[in-house]
């Protein structure tokens, strides 16, 4: 098999996941996009394991590891999202803005005039 088939599939899948992580507002959707990212990586690992004829099974073993980690990550991530949802009644990442300056110092009017990124219109 040509090496490019799995590798390009992995690259494109990775780009899709990247887009999803950046573009989705729902925390769960972001987590799903994250799974795409992880799968792109594992696909590459398996492919490289075959391409490079690795006799220690590194590619597949690490794919297993990553799948395990992904499962753990999903569990924890969802626990966090649920906690967030309990406290804020939303899983929307667009309104989680604690990293920004407090609203008081910025002015409510200005905040109202911001878009999803918080960038002033």
């Amino acid at each position: 098999m040509h090496a490019l088939y799995p590798l390009i599939l992995g690259a494109l899948l990775f780009s899709l996941g990247l887009y999803g992580v950046l573009a989705r507002r729902s925390a769960i959707a972001v987590l799903m996009a994250l799974e795409l990212l992880l799968n792109a990586v594992t696909l590459n690992l398996v492919a490289y394991g075959s391409i490079l004829r690795d006799r220690y099974g590194t590619g597949q073993v690490f794919t297993l590891f990553i799948i395990t980690v992904a499962a753990a990550e999903t569990g924890l991530g969802l626990a966090i999202v649920l906690l967030l949802y309990r406290q804020r009644a939303t899983a929307d990442l667009g309104v989680q803005r604690e990293l920004a300056e407090p609203v008081e110092s910025f002015g409510a009017d200005e905040l109202a005039a911001t878009d999803d990124y918080g960038v002033l219109r």
Binding site: M1, L4, I8, M32, S50, Q60, T63, T68, T74
Partner: protein, 189 residues
């Protein structure tokens, strides 16, 4: 190897490309659909497709583990989480950020860069998926895992334990003074 050519793809290659198209299509739907549950369901398709790709690459064990973990556990978790956060039926407006062009730019840029680099590096490389079959079986993978990767395996078990404890701690992180903290769904019922 001279026998390889783009013009005469093998059956495995054709299958791989077809399934790959399914994977990419479903992946695209996962990140673009306005309906979150649909996106999650398409994620099943995507994961299953990747599992088949693993099979085609000769990683049999990994393929079934992919189906088992993703299909049986991760997706169920996602659906569970979606239901707990009251995913509505139908389109969720404002599911995406309003200005998607930076994300599109990053996605396209990443795709362009990665594909360019990959093509430049591996345009003359072929490999035989069947070579991986011995390794991809349960015996081969188990041997590799417990001969060479025991320590990472154990470390991973610790990680899983930590994740378990963490998840429990997170979901129990309620104090007395927090007042009633029912799930929205239960409150409704």
């Amino acid at each position: 190897m001279a026998t390889h050519s783009y013009l005469s793809p093998t059956g495995v290659e054709i299958a791989f490309v077809l399934v790959g198209l399914v994977v990419l299509g479903s992946g695209l739907l996962v990140v673009t659909l306005k309906n979150l549950v649909h996106a999650a369901l398409w994620l099943i398709v995507c994961m299953g497709g990747i599992g088949i790709e693993y099979l085609l690459l000769g990683a049999e064990m990994v393929a079934w583990i992919q189906v088992l973990i993703y299909g049986g556990a991760v997706i169920v978790l996602f659906l569970f989480g979606l239901m707990l956060t009251k995913a509505p039926i139908g389109r969720t407006e404002e599911l995406d950020v309003a200005h998607r062009w930076p994300a599109v730019l990053v996605g396209l840029g990443a795709a362009g860069t990665l594909v360019t680099v990959t093509v430049q590096a591996y345009q003359h490389t072929w490999f035989e998926p069947r070579d991986a079959l011995a390794l991809g079986s349960s015996e081969g993978l188990g041997t590799a895992l417990f001969h060479y990767w025991v320590l990472p395996f154990e470390a991973l078990s610790v990680l899983l334990l930590a994740a378990l404890v963490g998840a429990i701690a997170l979901s129990r992180a309620r104090r007395e003074d927090d007042g009633p903290d029912e799930l929205p769904g239960e409150a409704q019922a």
